[in-house]
């Protein structure tokens, strides 16, 4: 018996070895290098020169605009995604008959698994000079500029990440016990009250998951602002590409990366604690 558990342990270790190696070489080591670099200095020709200084972190305010944009547009985009996705998810989960439900859900999700690059550039077309602005000129609105604005970036965000939001919402609304809705209306609850007191609280897990997924991806977004923000509306991701590939200021870029990851770790941990806490509280109130 003892021999058996010994060989079992070896088997577990062997199964985990390649994955452990990967985590070590491709995750832990690069993150440590970035952390070390962020305390270094920029070499004269670009790249990295050794040292220990907080200069790079002190210099962060020079990229304040990128941080501001990201910290405002990422949550705003997440919220907008939720507002657009929720009625659709509700419709698919509660109103559509069983036979069409799955097909329609697949139709919503399919675009997410096709190239975000190609889908985003479609909007350069639509919002650009010969797209909607030309149509607007026909009906008398001259000189409307849509592309390279915050609005354009927000449209791109909703378009790109809507499927990711709909899916978890659908899953939690689908599980919703319809007899609860009937009970609420039988007891004289208005549809609005039913929604507010029954549907919404019960779909909270879906809302929490969807918002977290979209928010995480938006914090590191590069393509959507690059295409639809045109250098005017840029995220931390765009600043990073500029720092590493154009100005080759590695230590400063490393400091920006470390700060981005730190912000994400803190917000996501806080968010998870908040939503988890809310969940247990609600379970108690339900009883």
């Amino acid at each position: 018996m003892k021999e058996d558990s010994q060989s079992n342990r070896w088997l577990t270790a062997a199964l985990l070895a390649p994955t452990s190696l990967w985590f070590l070489v491709m995750l832990i080591f690069p993150l440590i290098v970035i952390l070390v670099f962020s305390f270094g200095e920029r070499a004269a020709v670009g790249g990295y020169a050794g040292g220990f200084t907080f200069e790079q972190y002190a210099n962060l305010p020079s990229r304040l605009k990128a941080f501001q944009n990201t910290m405002i547009i990422a949550p705003a985009g997440t919220l907008l995604c939720l507002l657009v996705a929720y009625p659709l998810a509700y419709f698919l989960a509660v109103k559509v008959s069983r036979q069409y439900k799955l097909i329609l859900l697949v139709l919503v999700i399919v675009p997410f698994w096709t190239s975000l690059l190609v889908r985003t550039y479609a909007w350069i077309f639509i919002l650009g000079g010969r797209g909607i602005p030309t149509l607007l000129e026909f009906i008398g609105f001259e000189g409307v500029r849509l592309i390279n604005t915050q609005g354009a970036v927000l449209v791109g965000i909703v378009y790109g990440y809507l499927p990711l939001m709909v899916f978890p919402l659908f899953v939690s609304l689908e599980k919703l016990d319809k007899t609860l809705l009937e009970a609420s209306s039988d007891l004289g609850g208005s549809p609005f009250k039913t929604f507010l007191q029954v549907t919404l609280p019960l779909s909270m897990p879906g809302i929490a998951t969807g918002c977290m997924l979209v928010f995480i991806l938006l914090m590191g977004e590069f393509l959507i602002p690059a295409f639809l923000g045109g250098g005017k509306v840029f995220f931390i991701g765009n600043a990073l590409v500029d720092l590493f590939l154009q100005s080759r200021n590695w230590p400063f870029g490393a400091a920006v990366s470390v700060t981005l990851v730190a912000i994400m770790l803190i917000t996501v941990s806080l968010y998870m604690r908040l939503t988890m806490g809310g969940k247990s509280g609600r379970d108690q109130s339900l009883m």
Binding site: P30, Y48, P111, F125
Partner: protein
């Protein structure tokens, strides 16, 4: 009723942009934004463009390697983690969580910086150790670095998918198999594997599409190589042409085909399972 109209509007929002790209890829005119009759000439142009062909094969090679590596490593790791408890388990859960959460752009940058630093250190060493007269190998960014960086994310994706499947699995079947004196290997092959197979297949195809469509990680770690998304990005920077639309349409069609193939395979498997 209002809900139905709303749903139709959202579906239009999702599909009209894709439709516009497809429509304009059949443009007979030379300018991307003016539709002048229909033709397939841009598909011919795109397909005979050597750069596009090279980029496509680069992307295909990388995506296939990523899919194979991550489904193998992800599945074995998920199986191992399921037998584990305690501190090691917490450590691995943490690593999986971090590897999924750290933005692709940071993974790309960190990998670039780390590998370039290591290569700068190793290359003179290799050159010194190598025998005279033979050209020493030079380590540089390329296929391997893209594959390794993509696999970090997709491997964690497979672990999560397979683990969810294992959690929903019927333990009684495994116990029954053990009670009937099947060897652990036989139990795995005849009981566990058929049950987790759909998750592995889904993981394989999702890993492939992720890698095939990824731009930002490859942008940093591909070195001198050009993947298809990198080529499309560079073309768009130079100006949108009907040729880019044709390439984009083909990329969309390829992903759609793969997704449909997954659905078909998964359904087929399920049907066979119930008919037996």
């Amino acid at each position: 009723m209002t809900m139905r109209i709303y749903a139709i509007a959202v579906f239009l929002f999702l599909y009209v942009p894709i439709g516009i790209i497809v429509l304009f890829s059949f443009n007979a005119g030379r300018h991307a934004s003016e539709l002048r009759g229909l033709s397939v000439q841009w598909y011919g142009k795109a397909l005979s463009n050597a750069f596009v062909g090279d980029a496509f094969f680069t992307s295909l090679t990388i995506a296939l390697s990523v899919a194979v590596l991550s489904s193998l490593m992800g599945t074995t790791a998920a199986l191992a983690l399921q037998r584990m408890k305690g501190k090691m388990r917490v450590l691995f859960d943490g690593l999986i969580y971090v590897s999924v959460m750290v933005p692709g752009i940071v993974i790309g940058i960190a990998t670039l910086v780390a590998l370039v630093t290591v290569f700068d250190f190793l290359n003179p060493l290799l050159a010194a150790l190598w025998p005279e007269g033979i050209k020493p190998p030079k380590l540089s960014m390329g296929y391997a670095s893209v594959i390794a960086a993509h696999t970090l994310f997709t491997m964690s994706l497979v672990i999560i998918l397979v683990r969810a499947r294992i959690a929903g699995m019927d333990r009684a079947l495994i116990e029954a198999s053990m009670d009937l004196y099947a060897t652990p290997w036989r139990t795995f092959y005849q009981v566990t594997l058929p049950q987790i197979y759909p998750a592995i297949l889904a993981g394989f195809l999702l890993s492939f599409t992720f890698s095939f469509d990824d731009f930002i990680i490859s942008f940093f770690v591909a070195g001198a190589n050009t993947t298809l998304p990198i080529y499309i990005f560079a073309s768009i920077r130079r100006g949108i042409t009907p040729e880019v639309n044709a390439i984009g349409t083909m990329v969309l069609a390829a992903s759609l085909f793969l997704l449909m193939a997954t659905q078909f395979l998964l359904r087929n498997k399920k049907n066979r399972g119930t008919s037996e």
